[in-house]
């Protein structure tokens, strides 16, 4: 470590370890949800997309389907971003 980098931390707004942690928290949470999701979810998502696409123009990543566990019931959550 050189003389200049010795003081670096004070003006570095976000340390790289902090960025790593935040990115990991997001990706790991996402992948855990996918792991516990039922196997039919991707197929369900594709079919929902096909139905909605009959009426409005949407792309594959405009639709998000996920299942959330809330206590002892599961909620199927459908998010569709519609074009203007």
């Amino acid at each position: 470590m050189g003389l200049f980098s010795y003081f670096k931390n004070e003006d570095d707004p976000k340390l790289s370890a902090q960025i790593a942690k935040e990115r990991l928290q997001i990706v790991v949470a996402h992948e855990r949800k996918q792991r516990t999701a039922p196997e039919y979810l991707p197929a369900l998502q594709r079919e929902l997309l096909a139905v909605i696409a009959k009426y409005v123009q949407i792309e594959e990543d405009d639709i998000q389907v996920q299942i959330d566990q809330q206590g002892n019931l599961s909620v199927l959550e459908l998010n569709v971003t519609l074009p203007h």
Binding site: M1, G2, L3, Y6, N9, D12, L15, S16, A17, Q18, A20, K21, R23, L24, Q25, V27, V28, E31, R32, R35
Partner: protein
């Protein structure tokens, strides 16, 4: 009945074999009859780290195929009592370890040993799944680095869904072993801290092994690093084994070593 412990990680090169050799040796030194098994078919390396590469005659696949008995294939460690090594096969057939075959070998070993340590290959394919399927406990070896942490989370998911215990609705006891830890880089905010990794993976911390030159030296010599009781990594592994056996030991080597002012300014 032996306790079966898999050493696993998903990601390659994070320190599974180093850890398998150290933990198996530590358990044997503590007086427990221990067998350490190399599941890395085609990439046998545990024999080198244990320093018994010239004594390999038969291997894991030979035993499964009935070409050798378990007694013929097990290599008795020269340095440490109570310790035996079952080397991996160098065959290129990755599916040579059948589930039934592995189960038969583990059942036979279970009668003879207190602990069976399974050194997993990298990845999440057949070999890794065979290494973890029969495990009672898992040591998840993780480096403080994004891809290693993510892969550890995936392997934890597999332990929780595809292991025999999981299929029976029982939990596999998971231990986090953070290796190649560099406290001064953590202090600089350049490396994920123990707390960061614990928070993300949410499993019990078994130990933190510092990044250490003693590991390369030990592997050069074919002596498990835990036997180097002067080294930081060796001592950290000894602590981890003691914790595995239920002892409560504080974590060491988590703080950067204090350096003199000149060294801090001019590097080192």
């Amino acid at each position: 009945m032996a306790k079966i412990i898999v050493v696993t990680s998903g990601k390659g090169g994070v320190g599974k074999t180093t850890t398998s050799a150290a933990v198996a040796t530590g358990l044997a030194v503590a007086g427990h009859k221990t067998a350490v098994l190399d599941f890395d078919v085609g990439l046998r390396n545990l024999d080198l780290i244990m320093g018994c590469e010239r004594r390999v005659v038969y291997d894991f696949v030979n035993v499964i195929n009935g070409e050798a008995t378990l007694k013929q294939a097990l290599i008795k460690d020269k340095r440490t009592d109570n310790l035996y090594i079952l080397p991996a096969s160098q065959t290129r057939d990755k599916d040579a370890l059948s589930k039934e075959g592995v189960e038969r070998v583990l059942n036979e070993l279970s009668e003879l040993f207190d602990f069976i340590i399974c050194d997993s290959p990298a990845g999440i394919e057949h070999g890794a799944q065979m290494a973890l399927y029969f495990a009672d406990e898992a040591i998840v070896v993780t480096n403080p680095e994004v891809s290693s942490v993510r892969d550890s989370d995936r392997i934890i998911g597999i332990l929780q869904s595809k292991s025999r215990k999981a299929e029976r609705g029982e939990p596999v006891k998971e231990h986090l072993l953070l290796t190649r830890y560099n406290p001064s880089r953590v202090a600089q905010g350049e490396m994920l801290s123990v707390q960061d990794v614990e928070e993300i993976l949410a499993i019990d911390l078994l130990g933190v092994i510092p990044e250490s030159q003693s590991v390369l030296k030990a592997s050069n010599q074919g002596v498990p690093v835990i036997l180097d009781d002067e080294s930081d990594a060796g001592m950290a592994y000894s602590d981890a084994v003691a914790r595995l056996l239920g002892e409560n030991r504080p974590h060491r080597f988590l703080e950067a070593q204090k350096k003199g002012f000149l060294k801090r300014v001019f590097g080192g």
